[in-house]
Every structure is written in structure tokens, then in C-alpha cells.
């Protein structure tokens, strides 16, 4: 994968003003300076706890939200502040799948109409007609094409998520932003949808930005992983690096906090104390320092930059990164 990135994000920032009456009283720094690339056909996972800014990031990427500053380049074009008309042709190549399969489908439209909508809005007339294309898409995501005339409430949660996926695929996109696509589903259904997305990704060569709080799901889907904390990326790297050789203390804590079926009994965990601080007033310097067991004076005064450590694929924003120790050693000690 040496091609030009499909998506290039630099200094991406979103601040939401907090108002009391007419006065602006503060700023929620939901996303605060992100840099990352996604190459064609690559899958990038954005992972973090609630409030880390991953969903806001996803919505900016498909321009459902206007960035405060920074830039988003898609296929070589700057779309950071593109208007409606400029965005329309791009929307064909850039699609989103939402978390809640119940809220993201219009209950008064048939499945056929829901999946056909992107084609109609963009004035696309597929060879063989819209209905044939829609049925092809339904089949592609594992739904019965004869259910074309049914309504969303006649489907189960997993099937509804498949409808949302068929709709996202209608325009043959190059990049799909998937925002927690499986977290509302039962475990047995989750696996069905993860497998479906993986098959589609390989078959159609799609690039994905996969947003999730579940590190185990991300591991099964993504080649690259970015770990977010309070609006910043604290660590980014290839899957093996993040899961086998995490360097940022937060990544290590996050990994060790996950109860894993393969481990019985109380696990030796890194115990983080307290909660994530408010993005209204993030800590000075390193934002993780208030919960970090390695924090020193420098962490409060100087914000660590996201710098590559070895060879450039894995980058960590930490003054005191773990360099070589594999994760199991620290956890068991």
C-alpha cells in the first residue's frame, strides 16, 4: 500500500460553544487536532471511551458536521468546507453506517425505497433499472431480495443493520465510515454483521473508518488502529503494534481492562482511577496525566506530540512510552 492516501486528515478540530442564554460561556473541545491518513482499501479503527470524540470525528469526515479548523482531503480534493453542491458528487464515494439500526431507517418507507434513495437523489440510472440494483444489493448483504416491499419494523435488529449497509453500498463508495455498527446487536448477531462487513471490504476493496469502543471487535476488522482520548489520538499503529506492543499507558490500560473470555477469574489489571475529565476544561499538558501512573512534572506543562518511534508506522503521544515490553508481562506483574 504505497498509493496516495484516499483520506488525509490534518489538524482536524471541532469545538462546540456552550451557551447560557446568549452568552458563550465555554468551549467543549470534542476533537482537538487529529492527523491521520486512510489509504484505498485500508481499514482504520478509531477506538476510545465515551466522550473521546470518535463519533464527532466520523461525522466530520462525511461532513455531517462542519470542522472548526484543520483540513480533510478526500481523493485529493479539500472537502473541509465544501458546500452542499460540491459535496454531492463526493457523497457517492463517501458513505456512513450508523449505530442505531432502529433510528436510522425511515419507518414509513419500504426497504426497497430506503435502499433506492441514494440512487434516486443522485439521479443514477443503473443498467437493468433501480429495482434490479436494489435487489442485487439486498442479496449482497444477505437479505432476501423478495423482501423489497417490507417495512423496517418487519426486520430484526441485525437485518436492519444489513439494510443500512445495503444503502451505504448503493453508490459504490470508496470509503465507508461505520459508527459503532454492531454495538446495538446481540453477540450472536454481532458476529454475522462483522463477518459481512469483512467480506464486503475484501470483495469490493472498500476503505473503512471503523468507529467502536470495543477493542476486540476492532481487532477483528481493522488493519490500522488509532486510540483516542479526550479529543486527541494518543497512539496510532498497525494492528499487531497496538495489540501486541502498545506504547502508550492509556492503550495498555484499555487493553488490560477488557474482560476476555479466554481468561477466567479476576485478571491482573492496570487499575485506572477516576473518570475521564470533562472536555470543557481538559487537563494541561498531556490529557491523560490525571489518570496516568507514570505522570511526572513535564506531563503537566508540555503536551506530548504524536511521534513515530520505530520506523514510522507506530506513533505515540507520550513523554514516557513503554518501549519494548510485551503487554502480558506488565499485566501479570
Amino acid at each position: 500500500m504505497t498509493d496516495e492516501p484516499l483520506l488525509r486528515v490534518r489538524g482536524l478540530t471541532k469545538h462546540f460553544p456552550v451557551r447560557q442564554g446568549l452568552r458563550a460561556t465555554g468551549l467543549v473541545r470534542a476533537v482537538d487536532g487529529l492527523d491521520f491518513d486512510v489509504r484505498p482499501g485500508e481499514t482504520l479503527g478509531l477506538v476510545g471511551e465515551s466522550g473521546c470524540g470518535k463519533t464527532t470525528t466520523g461525522r466530520m469526515l462525511v461532513r455531517l458536521l462542519e470542522p472548526t479548523s484543520g483540513s480533510i482531503e478526500f481523493a485529493g480534493r479539500d472537502i473541509t468546507h465544501a458546500g452542499r453542491r460540491e459535496l454531492r458528487p463526493l457523497r457517492q464515494e463517501l458513505q456512513i453506517i450508523f449505530q442505531d439500526p432502529y433510528a436510522s431507517l425511515n419507518p414509513r418507507h419500504t426497504v426497497g425505497r430506503i435502499v433506492a434513495m441514494p440512487l434516486q437523489v443522485n439521479g443514477i440510472k443503473p443498467p437493468g433499472g433501480i429495482k434490479a440494483r436494489v435487489q442485487e444489493l439486498l442479496e449482497l448483504v444477505g437479505l432476501n431480495p423478495e423482501h423489497y416491499n417490507r417495512y423496517p419494523h418487519e426486520f430484526s435488529g441485525g437485518q436492519r443493520q444489513r439494510i443500512g449497509i445495503a444503502r451505504a453500498l448503493a453508490l459504490r463508495p470508496k470509503l465507508i465510515v461505520a459508527d459503532e455498527p454492531v454495538s446495538a446487536l446481540d453477540v450472536s448477531i454481532q458476529a454475522q454483521v462483522v463477518n459481512l462487513l469483512r467480506d464486503l471490504q475484501r470483495e469490493l476493496g472498500l476503505a473503512f473508518v471503523f468507529i467502536a469502543h470495543d477493542l476486540a471487535v476492532i481487532r477483528h476488522f481493522c488493519q490500522r488502529v488509532a486510540v483516542m482520548y479526550l479529543g486527541r489520538i494518543v497512539e496510532i499503529g498497525d494492528r499487531e503494534d497496538i495489540y501486541e506492543r502498545p506504547q502508550h499507558p492509556y492503550t495498555r490500560a484499555l487493553l488490560s481492562a477488557i474482560p476476555d473470555v479466554t481468561q477466567l477469574g479476576p485478571a491482573g489489571r492496570i487499575r485506572l482511577t477516576g473518570d475521564v475529565p470533562t472536555p470543557l476544561d481538559p487537563p494541561s499538558g498531556c490529557r491523560f496525566r490525571t489518570r496516568c501512573w507514570k505522570a511526572q512534572d513535564i506531563c503537566a506543562t508540555e503536551e506530548p506530540a504524536l511521534v513515530p518511534r520505530d520506523g514510522g508506522r507506530q506513533a505515540t503521544a507520550c513523554h514516557f512510552p513503554e518501549v519494548a515490553a510485551p503487554i502480558d508481562e506488565e499485566v501479570s506483574s
Binding site: 471511551e49 465515551s50 430484526s156 441485525g158 437485518q159 446481540d186 453477540v187 450472536s188 448477531i189 454481532q190 458476529a191 454475522q192 462483522v194 463477518n195 469483512r198 469502543h213 470495543d214 477493542l215 476486540a216 471487535v217 481487532r219 477483528h220 494492528r239 495489540y243 490500560a253 484499555l254 487493553l255 481492562a257 477488557i258 474482560p259 476476555d260 473470555v261 479466554t262 481468561q263 477466567l264 477469574g265 479476576p266 485478571a267 489489571r269 487499575r271 485506572l272 482511577t273 473518570d275 475521564v276
Partner: protein
């Protein structure tokens, strides 16, 4: 085969089904052949259909199942929280030697909060937004300690807030639920449920709404509190990882019935029921081959109004045909399987199951 026919003589497992009365008479909580039915305009919902288990003090039972498996309905029945006008409950539930089924409202209320308490998934809907957190905890105390005055109740509530790890408890006492973060709210609710030292604590997906690092804190806290108060805990969850970490025993439910029961070691390390296998292989893990496909359970969980005949899992079970037509006609009973205390409700013979498990499940490497 007619469903009324006795099992064919070639029945591979001829050990008797588990008798309704189990030997652990003296367990703190005993549930025997519990059935819960709701009459709705669409038909009768058999939410729980003959479930038995027991939990002793100092032990944690994990109840695992997907949505609609009956796990939450079971816990609400134990607490006597179903509306008797809409619900038919039969079977026995004994809490500390007292029958809960059929008990008058007033008496159940006396048990609830003092002898048994519940931690809900969503603390924001369980705490009243209009009253301060401290006042709600103090009130829960005074309901069962009518002689306690306001100052004593306040002191007790502050102590509990402190015990569950809320910093500056005296100041936090006077704050409202919306001023607490998600993890702090869950701690406050745990403080409220423990304020009367209940011997039985039922936690329904207590960490599902929380972030993983906070989930780890809450699970640690529950374990510490159990060691201190020696309570019996029922932990209801869909997360097998959480069960593996905190439970002593596990009950797997499907379609309102128990399909497997045993120690956490038995159920997670040598699972016997194809549904349990399916759950284990469909969960993504942090270990093993990340490029291997997950093995999902085909189909969807069943409707409780129109449960499949015979074994409720048979339409999704890849081995259903191997058990013959019985799987479509007879409901399998919970029978001993494998090591002592391990029970499974499956028509397959023990040897067949061992072969399928070794060939199809263990070799995939997810369930180790």
C-alpha cells in the same frame, strides 16, 4: 414421532433428569421450576419456562443470554417486581427460607431492599432526578430502619458513598444525579442497594452502559463488597468475558429455559451445549487469530410467543439433525454431563457432543 411418546430406548444418556428438588436446600436463594407468563394481545409470552437454580451467600451466579432469553424477567420475579395483574408466576422462589411467589405485596416490599436488592443497568433512570443522591440513599435506609433519625440516616448514606469509592462523600451527598458521571452514578446506585446490607444482590447488566476502564472499577468494587458483606450475587449479562472474570457459577438461558449450568470453569472451559459453543465462538477475542472469521450463530433469537417446538434452539443448531426428530418434538431436560455439577439440556449424546466440540469448536481456537 409423536411428542407424547417416551424417549426412544436408544437414548444415549440414560441418567435421570435432575429432580425438581435439588439437594442444596439451605442455599440462600433457591429457584425451583420457575415459570413466568405474560398475557398480551398477541398471545401468551412464556418469558421463563421452568428454570431452577440456587445461589449461596458469598457466591456469584452469572446468568448469560441474549435479549429475550428470560434472564431479566427471572430476576424481576425474584424481587417480586412483576405486575400481578398481567403476569402469571408459578414455581418456587425461596429467599433466606421465605417463599416469594404468592407473597403479599406488603411483605415482598419488606424483603426488598433489606434482604435483597437490585442494581440496574441504567442508573440515570433508577435514580430520581428531582432529589439529591444522598437523600435517596438515606430514604432507602429509613424505610427499613424506622427508628433511625435523619442524622443517623445521613451518616449511614455518607458512609456508604465513601465505601463505594465516591470522593468527598459528604459534599456529594447533597448533589443531584445529573451532577454525577456515569461511573459515579453506578457507584451511587450500588451504595443505595447496599445500604441495608442485603444478603442477595441482583445486578442486571450493571456495567453494560459504562466504558471499559470504569467497568473494571465497578467489577472490582462488587468483588470487594462481596468479600466484605458475604452476599449472594446474581450477575445478569450478555458478556461472557465479564462472567469469566467474576462468576463462580454460570447459567446459560435460551428462549426462557436453562440450557446449561455449571461452574464457570465447566461452562467456559468445557462447554456442553451447542448454543454455548456458538456464543463462545462468535465473541471476538483479544487473543488468537485476528484474521480468522468469527463463527456466528445463524438465524435470530426466537420469539417467546411462538417458541420453536421441541428444543428451542434446534432451528439454529447445526447438529439438530444428528439428534433425530426428537429435537423438533421433545424439550430436552437438564441432565448431568461431564464433571459433577455440570448440567446440559441437549438431545445429543455425551460422546457425540465431545466429538463435535473437539472437531468444530475447540479447534477453531476461540474457546480454550
Amino acid at each position: 414421532m409423536d411428542s407424547s411418546e417416551p424417549l426412544p430406548s436408544g437414548e444415549p444418556d440414560d441418567r435421570p433428569a435432575v429432580p425438581a428438588q435439588r439437594s442444596d436446600q439451605d442455599a440462600y436463594l433457591r429457584v425451583d421450576d420457575l415459570r413466568v407468563r405474560f398475557d398480551t394481545s398477541d398471545g401468551v409470552v412464556r418469558a421463563v419456562d421452568g428454570v431452577s437454580f440456587s445461589v449461596d451467600r458469598g457466591r456469584t451466579l452469572g446468568i448469560v443470554g441474549e435479549s429475550g432469553s428470560g434472564k431479566s424477567v427471572t430476576s424481576l420475579a425474584i424481587l417480586g417486581l412483576h405486575d400481578p395483574k398481567r403476569t402469571t408466576i408459578t414455581g418456587e422462589i425461596s429467599v433466606g427460607g421465605r417463599q416469594v411467589v404468592g407473597l403479599a405485596d406488603e411483605e415482598v416490599r419488606r424483603l426488598r431492599g433489606r434482604d435483597m436488592a437490585m442494581i440496574f443497568q441504567d442508573p440515570l433512570s433508577a435514580l430520581h432526578p428531582y432529589y439529591t443522591v444522598g437523600r435517596q440513599i438515606a430514604e432507602a435506609y429509613r424505610v427499613h430502619h424506622p427508628k433511625a433519625n435523619r442524622r443517623e440516616a445521613r451518616q449511614r448514606a455518607v458512609d456508604m458513598l465513601d465505601r463505594v469509592g465516591i470522593p468527598q462523600p459528604a459534599r456529594r451527598f447533597d448533589q443531584y444525579p445529573h451532577e454525577f458521571s456515569g461511573g459515579m452514578r453506578q457507584r451511587a446506585m450500588i451504595a443505595m442497594s447496599l445500604v441495608n446490607d442485603p444478603a442477595l444482590l441482583i445486578a442486571d447488566e450493571p456495567t453494560t452502559a459504562l466504558d471499559v476502564t470504569v467497568q473494571a472499577q465497578i467489577l472490582d468494587l462488587l468483588a470487594d463488597l462481596q468479600a466484605e458483606f458475604h452476599s449472594a450475587i446474581i450477575l445478569i449479562t450478555h458478556d461472557l468475558g465479564v462472567v469469566g472474570q467474576v462468576a463462580d457459577d454460570v447459567l446459560v438461558m435460551y428462549g426462557g429455559r436453562a440450557v446449561e449450568r455449571g461452574s464457570v470453569e465447566q461452562v467456559l472451559r468445557s462447554p456442553q451445549h451447542p448454543y454455548t459453543w456458538g456464543l463462545l465462538s462468535s465473541v471476538p477475542s483479544l487473543h488468537g487469530d485476528a484474521d480468522a472469521d468469527l463463527v456466528p450463530i445463524p438465524g435470530n433469537p426466537p420469539s417467546l410467543i411462538n417458541l420453536p417446538q421441541g428444543c428451542a434452539f434446534h432451528p439454529r443448531c447445526r447438529y439438530a439433525d444428528r439428534a433425530g426428530s426428537r429435537s423438533r418434538t421433545d424439550v430436552p431436560e437438564l441432565r448431568p454431563a461431564g464433571a459433577a455439577g455440570h448440567l446440559v439440556a441437549c438431545h445429543l449424546g455425551e460422546e457425540e457432543r465431545a466429538t463435535f466440540y473437539a472437531e468444530d469448536v475447540a479447534s477453531v481456537g476461540v474457546a480454550r
